[in-house]
Structure formats: C-alpha cells, structure tokens
Amino acid sequence: MDEKNKMELAQIRAKLKKLLVSQLSLENVKAEEIKDDEVLFGEGLGLDSLDAVEIVVLLQRNFGLDVKDMNQGKKIFYSVDTLAKYIHENRKK
C-alpha cells in the first residue's frame, strides 16, 4: 500500500473515532483511546444493535455510503480498521 493510501486511511480512522464518540454518546471514551483493531460490538467498546443502525446513518451522512445489507455490515462494523477500509474503498465524498 502506498503512502498516500496509508495517510488517507489514518485520516479516516481519526475522523471515524471522533464521530463514533460524538454520535454514539460514548461519554466516558476519548476518541484517541479507541484502538484501531478494537472490537466495536459486544466485547471491546461494547456497542449494541442501536449503535449499529446509528453507524449506518453516520456512514451515510459523513461519507455518502449506503449499507443496505446488515449481514455485510457485520464484517464491516467489526473494528475501526475494517470500517475505515470499507470507507476508503467505497466512499463518494
């Protein structure tokens, strides 16, 4: 992966972490404390089904992405890393 892509991914991850904290009201979590490969749902960050659909909205509003199939969503929503890669490959804005 070239430097440009790496940098873009890092930027997306940073933006995502901030968005997750603000949009999901993660009151006691600091964006920079979320690890790139930390599991988002259940264990790890402890997100739930309502967070999942809120992330769908977050992706629409901030990256112009539609996640229609929540089964596909499960893989994408695994961690900040997987989310960032998906955004990087598919985003429209």
Binding site: L24, S25, E27, N28, L50, V53, E54, V57, Q60, R61
Partner: protein, 344 residues
C-alpha cells in the same frame, strides 16, 4: 397508599432536601425567564453510567425515580416493583431533534437513536433498566390530569396485587419550541412570577420542567411521609374540608376563576407552590411532593408568592402546626376538577 420515599428534579436542584430548602427560601426569580433544569443538576456519572444515550427527559425521570427509591430505604424485589409515569407532553425536545434530522437530512437519513428516544415510554424503560426491575411499567399522558390518572392506576395495581410497590411519578420538559408555544398560546408573566391567588380568566404562566417520583405501597412499614388517600374528579371540592388546600393553578390552564370557590372557604389554609416549580401540565405531582413534606414535617410552608387580592386565607409565614389532611386541587380546561387527598 403509603408514601415511603420521594425524589424530585426541578429548577432549584435535585432531591427532597432541595425541595425543603426551596419551600423555606420561597420564590426566587428564574434565570433565563423559565424554570429550567440546568445540566449540572442532572449530571450523575454513577446512576447514569449505563444511560449514555438518555436525553434530558429520561435523565430527569431516572434520577427522580432512583432518588425516591433510595429515600425510602427499601430494598425491593425486582418483580415486586411497578413503575407508572405521567407526562403532559412527553419527550418532545427529542421529537424535535428527530424533526431536525428529517428537515436537515431527509426522511431516509434520520437518527434511529433520536427516534427510539422520542417515544413517551423511553424514560420508564431506562428507569426499569437502571433499577433492574421486571414489574409492570406504564407511561400515560392525560394533560392536566396525567398525574392523577397515574395515582389511580398505582392504587389499582397495589390492590390487585400486580406489585407490592410502585414508583409513581411525573415528568415534563421544556424546549425552545415549548417556550415558543407558551408565548403564543398563553400570557407569560413578565416578572417570572406565577400568581396563584389572582384567579384571573387569563392568568399568567411561566414555563417549567422537572420530574417527581414517589415510592408508594400498601405495606405498612411505620415510617412514611403520608398517605395518598383518594383521587376524585368533578366533585364538590368543598365537601370535606381538609386542613390545607394546595391549588395546582400555574397559568397553563388560562381560566383560573373556578378556584375562587375554594377560596371562599375561611377555615382551611390555602397554599400553592407552583411559583417554585413553573408551569407544567403535571405540576400537581410537584405540589404533592410539597404536600408530602408538609405532612411529614408538620410544617406549613409559606406561600412563595403572596399577592392576594381576594384576601384568601393563605399561609403567609412558615409555621409548625398540626396537619392531618391536604387536598391538592387542579382544574383542567373544561373546568373539571381533580382532587388528590393526602393524609398524615
């Protein structure tokens, strides 16, 4: 129905001791011209730790309910506690946040979190989760008589054995939109003072918000604030005279002339604490919290606002006295009354 505990969140603070202080301090001008609950009042990292998404409406409800249970000192079994919450307008601030989403992003791009919090019963769902109770839970909305209906249902549940204890309470919140509606629909008091004893046809309101909960039971534990004796509607309010009348008029129902009838009575003391709480559909619940303190402490607290053109027998000074019964009286916009009878 014995009142074993009470919790309150209102403009002047959180907890029943804050209410006691407010009753002693009497009227204080509201900041921002409304009786709003400031964020620091509902900032509780411990009780609200698993309620990160809760909106202000839910947070006020959770804290008042939690405090009422704590105040009672009772450890209840999770199946034996029911929750009944009354609200005039529900969590409308969240509803408007959801409408903001629709207007800003379109119908297809709205926040599911806002939507799920805009239902009236989200607050009770939080209370049940925070207290971990599996008993019956209901949210109801009957405008000016919401709290009275909640009391009727609580009494029924206890009698039917649906639960041994009920957290029964009321919540209403303010928002910029609600303030706008107040300004358009009602005469708003420019001095920020609700004046309960003027009995005008077009009385003045000052918007308020907050939450009150009571832990009630038929179990006799010996230690209690008072009893909710009876709730009745559309009866002659002067039939059985109590020691004190508390009037629930707060300007939100414009025409207050019907209250004059009670004030022709010379014997009972007449009070109203609505100027402390602000105008709310469910203000009766807040006055009932004041009534509970009066009966418990055997102190009649002076009226916060003493403007009294009809020379009504109001309580001008806070005084110790023997008090066995209080009737809280509310009229709705059809001039139907609801009376909550509290006994020592």
């Amino acid at each position: 129905m014995n009142v074993l505990g009470a919790g309150i969140v209102f403009n002047r603070g959180r907890g029943i001791s804050c209410l006691e202080n407010a009753l002693i301090e009497r009227w204080v001008a509201p900041s921002d011209s409304v009786y709003a609950v400031k964020p620091e009042i509902i900032n509780d990292q411990v009780v609200l730790k698993d309620s990160r998404r809760a909106d202000k409406f839910s947070k006020m409800a959770i804290l008042a309910a939690y405090d009422a249970l704590e105040d009672s000192g009772i450890k209840v079994d999770k199946k034996s506690l029911g929750i009944i919450m009354a609200t005039g307008f529900g969590p409308h601030a969240t509803t408007y946040r959801f409408l903001d989403d629709i207007l800003d992003y379109g119908d297809r791009n709205v926040s599911p979190t806002s939507f799920s919090h805009s239902v009236h019963n989200a607050a009770v769902s939080y209370i049940a989760s925070v207290l971990n109770v599996n008993g019956p839970t209901i949210t109801l909305a009957q405008f000016a008589f919401s709290f009275q209906q909640a009391l009727i249902l609580a009494k029924s549940w206890l009698k039917e054995g649906r639960c041994e204890y009920v957290l029964v309470g009321a919540v209403d919140e303010l928002s910029k939109t609600m303030e706008y509606i107040f300004n358009r629909k009602l005469r708003v008091a420019e001095d920020g003072k609700i004046k309960p004893f003027r009995f005008l046809q077009n009385s003045e309101a000052v918007a308020g918000e907050g939450a009150v909960f009571f832990l009630v039971t038929n179990v006799d534990t010996g230690k209690r604030y008072c009893r909710f004796e009876k709730v009745y509607f559309n009866k002659d309010v002067c039939r059985d005279l109590p020691d004190i009348y508390i009037l629930d008029n707060d300007g939100i129902i414009e025409d207050e002339t019907a209250y004059r009838k009670i004030c022709a009575e010379k014997k009972p003391l007449i009070t109203s604490y609505t100027p402390i709480f602000g105008s709310m559909m469910t203000v009766s619940a807040f006055n009932c919290a004041a009534a509970s303190l009066i009966l418990k402490n055997q102190i009649c607290y002076a009226n916060p606002v003493l403007i009294n053109p009809y020379k009504v027998n109001i309580c001008a000074n806070t005084k110790k006295m023997k008090i066995d019964s209080i009737n809280c009286v509310r009229y709705n916009c059809s001039k139907v009354n609801a009376v909550v009878e509290l006994k020592r």
